[in-house]
Amino acid sequence: PLGPVPLGKDNIFQLVMSDSGFVHLPHPSDSERLRHHLPRNPCPTPSYYPQTPPPHADSVEFFQRLSTETLFFIFYYMEGTKAQYLAAKALKKQSWRFHTKYMMWFQRHEEPKTINEDYEQGTYIYFDYEKWGQRKKEGFTFEYRYLE
């Protein structure tokens, strides 16, 4: 309603510079820590694939519905992210416990045969991240100083 105003020299320069800035736009990964295992890798998918995550995909309740193997994958391959944190929370709700020395998740297979102030001993299931599978360990001593 007030009509256009001819742009000054400064404004023309600003347009030229913003044009060149537009060619090298920031990428979302520029504001994230380096993702060593799963860097962003945009890949075109058919339009009938879901383009957005399901609703409430960032809640503990959603993570609790994922399989334990998925949770382990997220834990080990998305470290330092909210996803890892939620995966750990979901695992704990399913009675898994993190052993800080072996860096593995353990779950009691049965009631421990020995429990005292410093440790518990019995049969456990643990997830071996190197062999990528669950294993059973009998007579294992879980020292509480290594309990996360």
Binding site: L25, P26, P28, S31, E32, R33, H36, H37, L38, T52, P53, A57, D58, I74, F75, Y76, M78, E79, G80, T81, K82, A83, Q84, Y85, L86, A88, F98, T100, M103, Y129, E148
Partner: protein, 47 residues
């Protein structure tokens, strides 16, 4: 008439805050949990 602001990729009816998952002014999707850097316990940094 301006833009339909509901098409900018923000859930304006969300009961939760939008800023905590705001990815970028140039992207019309919020952050996924794996996009958000988090202060996890040091023991979790297994790598």
């Amino acid at each position: 008439p301006g833009m339909d602001l509901t098409t900018l990729g923000l859930n304006l009816n969300s009961p939760e805050n939008l800023y905590s998952t705001f990815q970028s002014p140039w992207v019309d999707l919020p952050c996924r949990p794996q996009d958000i850097d988090f202060h996890v316990p040091w023991e979790y940094m297994t790598n």
